[in-house]
Assembly symmetry: D5
Homo-oligomer: 149 residues x 10
């Protein structure tokens, strides 16, 4: 069984049981962000064993799928690059437009190094707005200095 | 004169005069974010005429460069895709890892549509942290519903 | 079951029952454009639940397929880029030839921003012409201004 | 002198003289669409000799540039594919989402063939709208039947 | 059933029955060129219903395959670009070597426009030659003028 | 001096002297096809020394350019693949649609081998037609059998 | 049955019967080179009917596989380009390093033309050497002159 | 001065002095193969200092060019991959057709490892033949065993 | 059975039996590095027959899988390039940043040649560190001089 | 002045003054590794101001070049991917062969996370060996755990 097959099993179970990601998250974990749980069930993060246990029960997953959910996946969720789906493409477009700006401003503030995408967390929420609600994203990544040696 | 030549003039002037982006921003605009000003001077956004006037004066730019800074550029700042520079690549990696998760959670919260990358604003700041300071990014884009017709 | 499998089921049913897209559209929806209905059945848009109900009945689709038709798909319909099929390539060619012109004229009329592909609708019809009938396409997308912040 | 150099001369003259495409069009031609004139000055269409004469006078172009404007260019205006600029990308996205739908509906209405991108004309205008003005595009291309032989 | 599966059924039947394309063509159509018939059976053109009837009988194809042969396919027959097969690559090489020459000479003779690949027919035959027989190809495509509007 | 620079010199001279390829061909060679002469002046074939002599005189080319015209070029005339120019793209589309058909029919008639693109000649002419004149192309390439050893 | 499936059948039979390519070659043909026989069994050349007969018997191949082995394949054996396998990559590297040199020296010796890859034969053998044995390859391809017409 | 500029200087001097690679080789080195000398002058190998001395004198190269010829270049001579030039493409095609065969036969004879492209030498010569002379190439590369550790 | 299928069998068995690579290595070989054993079981190296015997027994692999594990694989383990998985990408990034530096320093120390990736061995271990443990990698490859001939 | 121009100035000065990287390193820094210094002078790392001062003096670099050497570069040193130069390609090949193995073993030892390419240092040295000296590389990167949140 491959990771992609597990993801397909998850999506089928979610669909046929009429569950939302929010409901799945609440059943699977209290301490972990819904972003991490969703990403794990889509094959990009791993679950802790007890989370996988609950997920497997909720979604009627077979034993091997349950174990696979605790394994570290080969990451990369996009079938093509640049992504063809409009929701995901807009994030890619932000990098095209702001990439060099982010580089300049991070370096000016922190020096030579990067914002970690590993020691990283994020939030996503609805921001009410009279002219139309907004998607609000917060990201926080540890600054890592380039080591001089 | 091309937009790329203007960007090179800007970078040379900044370097030889020992200016920071922060200093340039303060001289060029009070109401606009430093992210927008920096992006414009790097060829990805446009300046208002009075901002371009101040920028040209500060950076000793010729007349044509000043006008070009007020023009809407052909956007896209990356010489290769995926970006080879580590700072910018990490953002690209976030899309690879979280792209499908963002899609699922935005749709579950808002329905069919996208987070606009046009009616969009962002902030970037230093987040002090005992284990090492963090880069904190806030993004906010209007949710646009797919029109049904 | 994947979205691609649903599309294949739809095409087989349409073929074996001898239906046209026009007939399917008439049976599935009165208020929605045939373009949207066809795009949904080809895996690029979603149907409203009652539309999916009617489509599933008309095309003998299984329960899971019916639900999938109401889900928001991962968009992107082209197996290669540039598209190899001549009908679709001609649209791509129009972008190659007119892309920068559209950009200039939209900016001159509206300022900095884009024509939305989300708050967007279109029509397609036959335009009788003595020298040979023509395909007439009308597009209308909301202009979105680049936010300055 | 290459076509790209002519385009750059045109853009510099337009910028330094403070002209709009609308003004240039009015001076260069009465019978031809502003879309064609703009596309020609951007290196994607050709001008008639008398149009080139007027364009060269208005924009102070040298003799060789004037002749080049009457030559048929090597068409293709995009520096990268998919296009990175958001305005142009949205058109590309429409092909990604609607490409197969257009193919199905054109074939159902007209049979096997294509909408010509050569025997083709188009319009672009502002469509006033209370919720925000819209970009309205009309396209009309002759249907060409695949010849059976 | 997909178009690719129909093509594989055709090839298997042709092989196991020991048929040539020439024999298939003679059985399937009298008025249509063997090039069109072969291309249709390889998934790039469509057959008329009576031709599909005869092809299905000759090759023992199931009902759905017979209908698919009358449908307009998503065209594009090459698994990679540039094509790796030497026979097909040589045609690609001719475009690499002569592409700009063809463009210049067509424009000089006909003005701005293209040779249609839709209103197009061709022949292919053996040309006896003492130094070794030659493949002789005749192509004829309607010239389409770029519309000025 | 590079081959590309020679081609640009040729195009400038042709343009400023108001010459056609037909006129150039008549002055440069009597025995060689206009296709070969044009291709050579566009950097894809070589001229014989006496032809280069005449071409250099007619087009006021410097000594080095004259020698370069007799050298065998690094062939390949397309700035992008697939070609963006509509005239050239149509030939590419023919390979996409007919590539596998040509392969099948050549093999059925000749056995295993290819149509040479080296021992190859071609013609291009106007074919008058009431419904619109046609571009008529004749190609003839020696069949080369795959050697068994 | 596809050509790739035949190749997999061949490899499984070879493996389970413990055969070498040398043994297979000896059983299948006396007059043909082991390179050609191996290439055919890997899907890149065709076998003569009597060779296919013997191969099918030796490897227990089904009837359709036997016929497919006599058919001319769609050539191209590399799953990616450049090839990732080190043995095959080294040949690719030789073209990267020596490609332009080969072109210059072939042209200087033979004039304008190519070394045929069709009227071509080769040998591969072990060359004993005290410092470590060497792979010795001999290639011989007919020189084909570019036809002038 | 870059390596590419040195190559262009070499080609211009060779052309204007009417030299052949054979003549250059004879003047530059007695012990080294003409293939190595030509490759070095085309920017893919290095010359020994005394060879560079003679080459610089023969071709009137400036001091820096002379030194650059003794430096180890960044190898890779092809402007595109796959190569568009027919002479070089044929070698690429041989890898496409025979790549997996070479892999199988080398492994069967030598075990796991590769033919070195570094401890490698080659010859190229004219092979007279009544049916048309042939290009004969001999390659010899040391077999390197994959180290087990 | 393909190599990829063997790898999937290995991973399933490892997972369901709760084995680590370390445990597998200890059972399969004493003299060979765990890196080589793991790479072989992932389809990139081969096992010795006795190692394959033990691996097959430990992992309940069928006979054909056991033989395949002793065969030399078609190497190349990455589904996309550049690799999307963060762990593997970081190595790729090191080449992007240090590639030309390694080239310069190896040449300065050793002359013209390469570090072999075939006569090569490596180690990977945990390096305890107060600020956080480190991954320590040691590589050693034979220097191969470019042969002059 | 661009970073690439600075690198070219550095290489020209190094060449004309007959300096080695080792000599440059000794003059420019005592505490920093020669790998970092070389990488900085090749445009991939930055120098400290006092190092840049010494480098500029040693290599006669202009003022702007000196400042640029202290700036953080846009990293990425390879003109093509995969790299065509054999020295650099061998590192790329190691990733192709060992990439998934490194991933498995790092995860088994450390859990979910990566080896940092930022908090990273390395050494490169000659390892004497009777069968031929070896290139010995030592790498050490901090293990970064994927943050769970």
């Amino acid at each position: 069984m491959t990771r992609a097959e597990v993801t397909e099993l998850v999506l089928t179970a979610k669909r046929m049981k009429g569950l939302t990601w929010k409901q799945i998250h609440e059943k699977v974990s209290v301490s972990t962000s819904p972003i991490v749980i969703t990403a794990a069930l889509l094959g990009q993060m791993r679950l802790e064993p007890n989370e996988a246990e609950k997920a497997a029960e909720l979604l009627d997953l077979p034993e091997e799928a349950k174990i696979i959910l605790t394994e570290i996946p080969y990451r990369g969720s996009l079938p093509q690059v640049p992504p063809t789906d409009p929701v995901i493409y807009r994030f890619y477009e932000l990098i095209q437009v702001y990439g060099t700006t982010w580089k300049e401003l991070i370096h000016e503030e922190f020096g030579d190094g990067i914002m970690s995408a590993i020691d990283f967390d994020m939030t996503m929420e609805r921001q009410p707005d009279q002219k139309g609600d907004r998607v609000k994203i917060g990201m926080s990544g540890k600054f890592l200095s380039y080591k001089r040696y």
